[in-house]
């Protein structure tokens, strides 16, 4: 089941340079929330703060609080590794492990965390690949073919399956379709639509039609600040802020 994500006064820095300023946002469970805004406004930084990936950049720093259900993401007792097991992440460019088979790619999260039970792995791989709508295309060559030999769209669905396999509660997707052709993009969007049933989804996109198609809620970021957060239809039809209106009508960005 998906978990709500509560973000309070989240600020993030790269060295001296501040990339996010005091973001407060309540991401509802089992819905897709889109993050839109011109490039460089901090969308990626924002999602990377949610699973503590931001701090892997040398000199990067975070302030504020993030809670997911009963996990205090930046609390004293929580470790980045544990947080990341609860949060799946899909990146802009598909990044399957190139020397691993399709099967091993999906099983990687479990295997590398010490789970080697054959039956459990087999079941998880099949379930995750079915969930990611890739099973039928790869089921005959699971262990023979490398993840890198698939097409771009298939690779991205493989990465989604890999993230699903560790049974996260939240899925973060950073422009998951921006490197893909229209047909693969449509497949990914269809997938996001179904994944909402089980997960809380935060999806970064610079494609506003995509936000309108897949997300119930949308946040508009500008220069490291959250300008407006509302139901997607409100953002796209009657935004409260002039800057949001300018952006969605294509006046800048």
């Amino acid at each position: 089941m998906g978990t709500p994500v509560q973000v309070q006064n989240l600020s993030a820095w790269f060295g001296e340079r501040q990339a996010l300023e005091s973001i407060t946002i309540d991401v509802p469970p089992n819905h897709a929330t889109a993050i839109i805004g011109p490039s460089g406004c901090g969308k990626s930084t924002f999602v990377r703060c949610l699973n503590r990936m931001h701090e892997t950049v040398p000199g990067a720093r975070v302030e504020g609080t993030v809670t997911m259900g009963n996990i205090n993401v930046y609390g004293n007792g929580s470790s980045p590794v544990e947080v990341r097991r609860k949060v799946g992440m899909v990146f802009q460019k598909p990044n399957p492990f190139p020397t691993m088979s399709i099967y091993d790619n999906v099983a990687a999260g479990l295997k590398l965390n010490g789970i080697h039970n054959r039956r459990q792995l087999d079941e998880t791989v099949e379930r995750s690949l079915r969930h990611a709508a890739l099973w039928d295309e790869v089921k005959d060559e699971l262990k023979k073919k490398s993840g890198a030999s698939l097409s771009g769209g298939q690779q991205q669905r493989l990465c989604i399956a890999r993230a699903l396999a560790v049974e996260p509660e939240v899925m973060l997707m950073d422009e998951p379709a921006s490197a893909l052709d229209p047909i693969s993009t449509a497949k990914i969007e269809e997938l996001i639509y179904q994944l909402k049933e089980h997960y809380t989804i935060v999806i970064v996109t610079h494609n506003m039609q995509q936000a309108a198609r897949v997300a119930e809620f949308t946040g508009f970021f500008l220069m490291g600040k959250l300008v407006e957060f509302d139901k997607t239809e409100v953002i796209f039809t009657k935004p409260r802020d002039k800057r949001t209106e300018d952006y969605i009508t294509g006046r800048f960005g």
């Binding site: 699973n51 990936m53 892997t56 040398p58 980045p80 590794v81 544990e82 947080v83 990341r84 097991r85 609860k86 799946g88 992440m89 990146f91 460019k93 990044n95 399957p96 492990f97 190139p98 020397t99 691993m100 088979s101 990687a108 999260g109 590398l112 965390n113 060559e141 023979k144 073919k145 490398s146 890198a148 030999s149 990465c159 890999r162 993230a163 560790v166």
Partner: protein, 285 residues
């Protein structure tokens, strides 16, 4: 057929460029074939079963072989690899994953310096530090000398190969909640595996033919030795001794020894390649 849009000048330039490249390729390959051909020509006459199974005959006695030197070389190289490969890989991993700082730069600089130290100097140093305290020449000392030569090459090539693994691959693993060290070992090293193996094989092939560092360490031996703390025969030493001797019989044996040495190197490099390729997948990068 000539495409009417392409001028004669461009065709000529294309032809010249192709010819030039073919010539360059020949110039590069020719010495290798010349060496191999000459080795076979000179050495194959003495290469027989006795050569591969007998120890050297005393001077003036016909026959004998280099069996102890072949096995000695194999043992020295095996022990050198056991010591040098893990150290080299470990240092390479440190440099690429945790070495973007002053400590890393110190190690990098040291490795590059060590790479440039003449092998005879390494032999003398190991003599002073290992042979003298132990009070004898030994297989172990020979392996230490060769391992010292392998480490900097393997370190730098491993680092380069790991740096070629895209950052996105590391992030993919971290994003799954995989520990950092586990990511390094099971994902990053595995991804760079074939490049790292190539670097190791280059280092191996380079030290396999070294003579100078072994003179001060393994020393050579006319008889069998299987103990790590005793002087040991090695092919390059045996080739050197026989090649510089006044006997014709020994000269041809030196050629045969060189042929076996090359075969040993090519054979082990090829074997590692075959084994490494066996695990590879369809379409793997």
């Amino acid at each position: 057929m000539r495409n009417p849009g392409v001028s004669w000048n461009r065709l000529l330039a294309d032809w010249l460029a192709t010819a030039l490249m073919a010539l360059t390729a020949i110039v590069v390959i020719a010495p290798l074939f010349a060496i191999l051909f000459y080795l076979v020509y000179q050495g194959v006459g003495s290469l027989n079963w006795a050569f591969l199974t007998h120890t050297p005959a005393p001077p003036g006695v016909v026959g004998g072989g280099m069996a102890n030197a072949i096995v000695g070389s194999a043992m020295i190289l095996l022990l050198a690899s056991v010591i040098g490969i893990p150290l080299g890989i470990g240092a390479g991993v440190f440099l690429s994953e945790y070495g973007r700082n002053r400590y890393g730069n110190i190690i990098r600089f040291t490795a590059d310096l060590l790479n440039g130290v003449p092998s005879i100097v390494i032999g003398m140093t190991v003599y002073a530090l290992v042979v003298v305290p132990q009070k004898h020449f030994s297989l172990f000392a020979g392996s230490i000398a060769l391992a010292i030569m392998m480490v900097p090459t393997i370190t730098r090539s491993t680092e380069q190969m790991l740096l070629m693994v895209p950052h996105s691959i590391r992030e993919a693993a971290w994003g799954l909640g995989v520990q950092r060290w586990r990511t390094t070992v099971s994902v990053v090293l595995a991804t760079a595996r074939s490049g790292i193996i190539t670097g190791i094989m280059l280092a191996f092939a380079r030290v396999a033919g070294e003579t100078a560092p072994l003179m001060f360490t393994a020393f050579g031996n006319q008889y069998w030795n299987f103990r790590t703390n005793q002087p040991t025969a090695a092919l390059p030493l045996q080739i050197f001794t026989y090649g510089t001797s006044p006997f014709d019989e020994w000269h041809t044996q030196a050629w045969a020894g060189a042929l076996v040495l090359i075969a040993l190197i090519v054979g082990s490099v090829a074997a590692v390649r075959v084994v490494a390729r066996k695990g590879a997948l369809k379409g793997a990068a």
